[in-house]
């Protein structure tokens, strides 16, 4: 009886620090390498000593797979590869590879520059780490070595998020990462073959929740924004995750277009702006509507939405 062994190094019963070790038919694969938002000490990264006590990481692991660019799935990567030391291949999709360093750099800035921590990875380390990354396409079967092969599937959630099928011989594991079955404003729904894996590792954050239809929620939200703007008020929307910001931008942009509204929309510069650049590039990863509209124009080239400047804050009139 073949054996598949799963060791969660993080993320069990918890949000953040996703890191799962899978041993399948003698091959060891690490799925995701995230950090934890809640801690500032050693607990923020997965405990790699579990592996290192028996030898070097590179010898032990056959490959590392990153499902998407959120920090709770890739935040520990430079620490893991540069500071602990790993030289094997790291697999991620093209958009993830593009956006991931931006987020890591931002994370580094906050921890090192703002909080003044030392003993943290440097910009150079991020760059070095990224050199070890192998980018994959959707549905592309990658032979890691003679026996181990991986294949990426579309997962929704954020740009470039993927589910991975890992196959050794006749055994296979599917790791979903974070995925989304209901399409949102800019991404489609997750999709996978009928691949019949031996083991399925799925995230389950909202598993016990059934939400109201997307249109209902959007309508409520837009109605409130619209009412405030009509009254001449200003709307401030705090968005914490990259990806959500883009979804909101698209949502507001299309609504503005539909209703012919004129009030300006701003987003705070920095991350969003940099990431928007990549969103424009990876149109094929987005949903049907955006792909269709792309023939005429790129939806991420917003007409109504501009980058924010502090000077705008006191401008008269409604704004979002």
């Amino acid at each position: 009886m073949p054996e598949i062994k799963v060791t969660p190094l993080g993320a069990g019963q918890d949000v953040g620090r996703s890191c799962i070790l899978v041993s399948i038919a003698g091959k060891n694969v690490m799925l995701d390498c995230g950090m934890h938002m809640g801690y500032n000490d050693d607990r923020r990264f997965p405990d790699f000593s579990y592996i290192t006590q028996n030898g070097r990481l590179t010898d032990f692991l056959d490959c590392v797979i990153i499902s998407h660019f959120h920090l709770d799935h890739c935040g520990a990567l430079p620490y893991f590869s540069e500071m602990v030391g790993y030289d094997g291949p790291i697999y991620m999709t093209h958009p993830t590879k593009a956006i991931c360093p931006i987020l890591l750099e931002d994370y580094r800035k906050i921890t090192v520059d703002k909080k003044g921590e030392t003993n943290f990875f440097t910009s150079q380390m991020i760059k070095d780490c990224m050199k070890k990354v192998v980018a994959v396409h959707l549905h592309q079967t990658v032979q890691v070595d003679e026996e181990l092969e991986i294949k990426a599937y579309y997962a929704g959630h954020v740009l470039g998020a993927a589910m991975f099928q890992i196959k050794v011989g006749c055994e296979s594991v599917v790791y979903t990462g974070d995925y989304n079955m209901t399409p949102d404003r800019h991404l489609g729904a997750a999709w996978i073959d009928k691949c019949r894996p031996d083991l399925l590792i799925s995230e389950s954050t909202y598993a016990t929740t059934i939400r109201d239809s997307k249109r209902c929620r959007e309508r409520d939200f837009l109605k409130k924004v619209h009412e405030t703007v009509e009254r001449g008020g200003k709307v401030l929307i705090p968005v914490f995750a990259l990806g959500r910001a883009q979804e909101l931008c698209i949502l507001l942009e299309t609504f503005w277009e539909r209703m012919n509204l004129k009030a300006p929309i701003y987003f705070s510069t920095g991350l969003t702006e940099k990431a928007n650049h990549y969103y424009k590039l990876f149109i094929t990863w987005t949903n049907q509507k955006i792909r269709k509209t792309f023939v005429q124009r790129n939806m991420f080239e917003f007409k109504h939405i501009k980058a924010f400047d502090r000077a705008f804050a006191d401008n008269p009139g409604p704004m979002v």
Binding site: I192, K194, T208, T209, R215, C216, N260, Q288, K289
Partner: protein, 969 residues
Amino acid sequence: MAAHLKKRVYEEFTKVVQQQHEDLSAKKLRLTKPSKSAALHVDLCKATSPADALQYLLQFARKPVEVESVEGVVRILLEHYYKENDASVRLKIASLLGLLSKTAGFSPDCIMDDAINTLQNEKSHQVLAQLLDTLLVIGTKLPENPSVRMRLVEVACKHLTDSSHGVRNKCLQLIGCLGPVEKGVAKEAESQAAKDVQKIIGDHFNDQDPRVRTAAIKAMLQLHERGLKLQQAIYNQACKLLADDYEQVRSAAVQLIWVLSQLYPESIVPIPSSNEEIRLVDDAFGKICHMVSDGSWVVRVQAAKLLGSMQQVSSHFLEQTLDKKLMSDLRRKRTAHERAKELYSSGEFSSGRKWGDDAPKEEIDTGAVNLIESGACGAFVHGLEDEMYEVRIAAVEALCMLAQSSPSFAEKCLDFLVDMFNDEIEEVRLQSIHTMRKISNNITLREDQLDTVLAVLEDSSRDIREALHELLCCTNVSTKEGIHLALVELLKNLTKYPTDRESIWKCLKFLGSRHPTLVLPLVPELLSTHPFFDTPEPDMDDPAYIAVLVLIFNAAKSCPTMPALFSDHTFRHYAYLRDSLSHLVPPLRLPGRKLVSSTVSPSITPHEDPSQQFLHQSLERVYNFQHLDPQGIQELLEFTIRDLQRLGELQSELAGMADFTATYLQCQLLLIKALQEKLWNVAAPLYLKQNALASAAAKQILEETYKMEFMYSGVESRQVVIIHHMRLQAKALQLIVTARTTRGVEPLFGMCEKFLQEVDSFQRCFISELPHMQGSFVDKLLDLMPRLVTSKPSEVVKILQTTLRQSTFLHLPLPEQLHRATANIIEPTGESDNPLRFTSGLVVALDVDATLEHVQDPQGTVKVQVLYPDGQAQLIHPKPADFRNPGPGRHRLITQVYLSHTAWTEPCQIEVRLLLAYNSNRSKASTRSPKSTWSESLEGLPPSENGIEGTIPFSKPVKVYIMPKPARR
């Protein structure tokens, strides 16, 4: 399809060549024929390698073969087939055999035996498959021969055990197309065979190859299409196939299940895991619902579409499809729909929503939740939230069809449809609005739903807004607040998009007339009247005020107490609006207003019969005038024309008919008048003036006949003959007039010849109608034809003149329905005094908005003409996408016309009108030929060689004030 196409091409090809052969002499034809098959034979014998042989065959395939020589060619091919060792050559021969047996007129039963023989010795799978295909062709060519079919089916059954999927595929296809379906006299044997066929196909549902599985299901469906009643036993097999790994199989299986559910809706099937039993249609419905969440979107679309046509399903199952329960951390939560409904029914209208009223309520026992809820649950919820908009549209369509047949379901799905109004894709929004309109007689909108519906009014897409106006026209609103809300939102819409004026007024008209009692309590507020004080009189030209009045007046029509609430100026405004916007403001019975009240309504109550009778009587009278003196005839015609025109004005439903006949009589009158002219008796040169009159008459008749032919929809071939006959007479008249006025014979020759050609083509086109035309101009003319062809122009003219005079007047039989094409330009209105200023040399876009009625194929025929003051005319061809089709017989043209001109010193008016283009070649009796492209700007009517293309203005011209300014340097 492809095969069909191929066949078509092939057939056409053969035809062409046969015509070529006609051109050759008969002798040559005989020479070429045997050489063809012989040549092939020689070629094939010469071929040393398989590649060579293949080349020869390919070349041969490009050339068509005549019917008579098919058999010979087939023999040669078969001969080579037996000798050939190379599989690819045999494959080509097999496909050629199939192609040849498709030749029209060739009966392939003679080659069938050979084809079957070859099958037995064949080793290559591809060749086998191709041979079976050939047999299929042969089989379909011989539909009346059951024994042949039986034999073919037997052959196919034998090869079903082949190891190649291609061969099995073809066998199944053959069985599907040729398997016996009819229950003949020998009932037992036949039904036995039928059962066998189904069983054989059914066995292949479990084939290891997905392509064969698909083919098996398709064959089964094919049998069904040909009328065989499928057995219920395959239902279970088909259900298993729904879980197949391959998309084509699932897609075909869904279809098969649907067919079965339509065949045996009431039979009972057991539910596997329990002892319960349900109706088959319900079970199938559940299964198809399950497929709405399939992995492949093609299957999803298909499943969603099929759901719409399953109307026998019980309501219990139907309502499950909309089931959705919200959960948050395993606790039940209420959906926004439920919350809204509760808020509404509790009577609270305060909008301040309490914090956390969507907080989760009841706890759910983890054990009680059955995660694998199979069946219908939430199928539409899934479908409507699908990623692909194709699926969403299909789901909306299915909802529409189901809701139309079940009012209770309509009520339930309302929330979801309203929800769809906010979809991100415009097509989906539009589709859901249309759907809602279709089911609107089953539903009443709650206020919160209305709120969402009305929010869409601000949409920037004109199509959406107009669809919504249409929807509001036929919805039921439950409260007076709802009406008020709708009015407020519509007025908002009006200020934001002033171009929607007409549509909004129309919408309010229906809203008012549907809800008189709800409008009544709102009247004082809407008119802002006050019990004690006089309020200022509102501005009469304000579109918003007109909108309010339209609502009120239409409500007042069925609410006699309402006028008491009006103030003085309201009555005055009523009188004004009744005149200016009579289509929107109904006649009202107003107290103390004799002048206004009921001037129109009772005096001419539309009554179908008398006016129709009148029409026919007046026509009778005209047709019997033969014995009257010329003066009397003219007078009678004049009176009748006048009567008919008046009738057309009064009776809108008879307008087309009356106008049509009036035009015809007008032509006749003109003809008679022209023939009465004295000029015929006197030498030509003296009467240039009268002559002008006659030729003008001829020209006018020509124009009118084109109008008659192309402007009316519903004209049948019988009318077309008469019209063409009239045109022929006019042409004869023209010829006579020219003959009398021109000197020299040269030009006359050409004209005569042309005229005779026309007579000839008339005869050819309408040969079947000629017997009805006893004593007519053409009848006489055709009698004289042999003489005419040989005589000189002057004689021809003389003959024409006498026949024209002697010929009788043809009756114009009236078709059932006749409508005149009309167009009405709504925008620009032509009222503006402000010139449209633009820099000369640049272009300015003018929005044109017009409604077209009874125009067939407006995309091809309707043009916009712009006339500049300098006489320059521009013809603009609107884009096909500019035409919308809101209802049968109605079209809407919304387009932009680009104007440009050199600088003017002061503003001046240009005229914009719509034209109906026609092409005399494309008469209604004949099939339509593809339209020739139109030149952008053409002046006058360019007569082409084989048909006259022209235009008929069919809308009133609208004047637009423009001012091209000189460009600043």
